[in-house]
Symmetry: C2
Subunit: 366 residues, 2 copies
């Protein structure tokens, strides 16, 4: 279980095709995981996700712990059964949401006390608690409890590693299920020495996979790329690398170039809720008056259900009228856009043409 | 075009199986038409409607005239193309919404002036205008412009017929497309003499179908049934009869018993938006705490996607968390519930067992 087979390695970059084995199936990498924060990828049914070609789905420990509760999910048969996603699931540790969503949080060496963003009730997460919750949820891949520090503050980030690293050891110690892969999360902000320190600490633990945390949280794209360039030669090549919270199309390609295997992001579903779709090289906001009488599909080359059926004029009507079908159709297109991009990335790596593919694709985002 | 073939007539009631031929396909009757007010059946894609077995879909002239505008729909290829529903569509005349949704309306012998419920702008509908708008939308079945009076006020209802009947003649005169069937709407409230007067006036016009309007607007169930009993022997047997705005399960069965062929209602989609599903003999509100840890499907005998996959506990979680998937899954179940009921009704009529079927079904609603 949790073997990672590398089927192809791009000659001119860190890109590789792999297969990560989990209890609920094989994840072909590089992979993008749609996010189902509250045990649902917003506006999509599991059958839709399947039809779109999703393999890995992410869900959020913080949200599910607060509502409906991890014990309820466990008693209903676990997250796969509860949300009826038969494929692989990844849960985060809850740490990121505690720091970004909750209020009145107090961090100490042992853990974090915080107030729910839903009802203000007080709660406490520790590494042990995070693992216990994630064991109740039952995902295939679970994440170590860590702190996600502001990426540019050297002293803060350095001190934060003195929490994140012992917390990882406690997560390993607390873990009881052998059908879940615990990934460590490399932190260190934008600082090469701290990233290297964090990566080397974790590599010694021989975990089934390594996440790169603390990016896409305010640093520049150049800083993100430089950080990935630092980690690419350090992280073990025979383990999957997961770049957390990244989903902009150009970031996916840049991440794959630098050896990343797994991505997740709310971007496709969140953009859809803001009436926006991704197209090659940019975005379109469907509320824009220019689409009022536009009979074209969003993208004439796209094979998604939305583009195969509906005009921009109709989609604009739906979003103007605040119809749920607008959310459904825009979400469908955006998730398809990223999953199709990953399929093309995997095909290009297999064909030995990924460098050229990446150059051409990124030229649309220059 | 617009032939109505009667394939089976129930021996013990007015129920019959028919096929109504339209430019976009044959409607097997008795039929329930889901309502797509704003050119979308809320929370369902056309492919979902198809999978659920919908044949006829209703859309609202008043809403589409105001937004996105009937001329835009015409320019985008008409309503079938715009909303990508390839099957039969029925549009109402806009009259009912003018009376129920708009403000500052003033009715005169020629038509109605009203203010938009969206932006307060002033508009005027006449029989000619309603037909012109419906011709722009391009539905297979269009409705005469009428007044829907309060059902219990005899003098008002009687006077209202002196508007509704001349308006029907003007609709017939205004109509230019021969690929649309114009139905007249029998009014007359709960008063047998007025209903008979209205029905006989319309029958002389030899229209392709007849709607029964002005019911399900405040009268009792007994008054609705009595009114249908008055009309059943009067209305021509070889034309489809359409009971407008009726969708409660027991009303569907009672309507079929009394010779009704076509029904429409927002009930299944509206209930879903209020976290409520239909089950045999009643309803369930998924916000109810009793479902918090209930692993059962909504209905263990139901074959819809929702019941085949999800627990009440999960559905309750979705509605508590205000997730779009909750709307989608509850809508799916409710629309399936009514379409499945109609399938069973048609099968019972074909098998000669409809009277027994109706008695058994209605016993759950006694």
């Amino acid at each position: 279980m949790f073997e990672f087979d590398i089927d192809a390695q791009d000659a001119g970059s860190g890109a590789r095709n792999g297969r990560f084995h989990t209890p609920h199936g094989i994840i072909e990498t590089p992979v993008f995981a749609p996010v189902g924060t509250q045990a649902t990828v917003k506006a999509l049914r599991p059958s839709d996700l399947h039809d779109l070609g999703a393999s890995l789905v992410l869900s959020n420990t913080y949200h599910l712990y607060l509502r409906p509760g991890d014990e309820l999910v466990r008693d209903m048969g676990g997250l796969h059964q509860f949300m009826q996603w038969p494929g692989p699931i990844l849960t985060d540790s809850g740490g990121f949401q505690v720091f970004s969503l909750s209020s009145s949080r107090k961090i100490d060496a042992d853990g974090v006390t915080f107030q729910s963003h839903i009802d203000g009730s007080r709660h406490r997460f520790t590494p042990e608690r995070s693992v216990a919750i994630q064991e109740n949820l039952g995902a295939d891949i679970i994440m170590a409890f860590d702190e996600c520090p502001p990426p540019n503050e050297y002293e803060y980030v350095k001190h934060s590693l003195t929490r994140t690293h012992p917390w990882l050891l406690r997560c390993i110690e607390a873990k009881t299920r052998d059908d879940q892969a615990l990934f460590g999360i490399v932190q260190g902000g934008i600082f090469p020495d701290l990233r290297e320190e964090s990566a080397r600490f974790m590599m010694d633990l021989n975990l089934p996979g390594y996440a790169i945390g603390g990016l896409a949280v305010g640093e520049t794209k150049a800083e993100m790329a430089a950080t990935l360039d630092v980690l690419n030669p350090i992280l073990p090549r025979h383990k999957p690398r997961y770049l957390m919270g990244v989903g902009a199309p150009e970031d996916l390609v840049n991440g794959v170039l630098r050896g990343v295997d797994i991505f997740d992001c709310v971007l496709p579903t969140r953009l859809a809720r803001h009436n926006t779709v991704m197209v090659l090289g940019g975005k379109m906001n469907l509320r824009n008056a220019q689409y009022e009488r536009d009979p074209q599909p969003l993208d004439g080359t796209c094979t998604c259900y939305t583009c195969q059926h509906f005009s921009r004029a109709y989609l604009r009507h739906l979003v103007k009228a605040n119809e749920i079908l607008g959310h459904i159709l825009l979400t469908t297109h955006n998730v398809h856009f990223l999953l199709e991009l990953m399929r093309r990335i995997r095909a290009a790596i297999a064909a030995g043409t990924f460098r050229a593919f990446a150059d051409e694709f990124l030229s649309h985002y220059a």
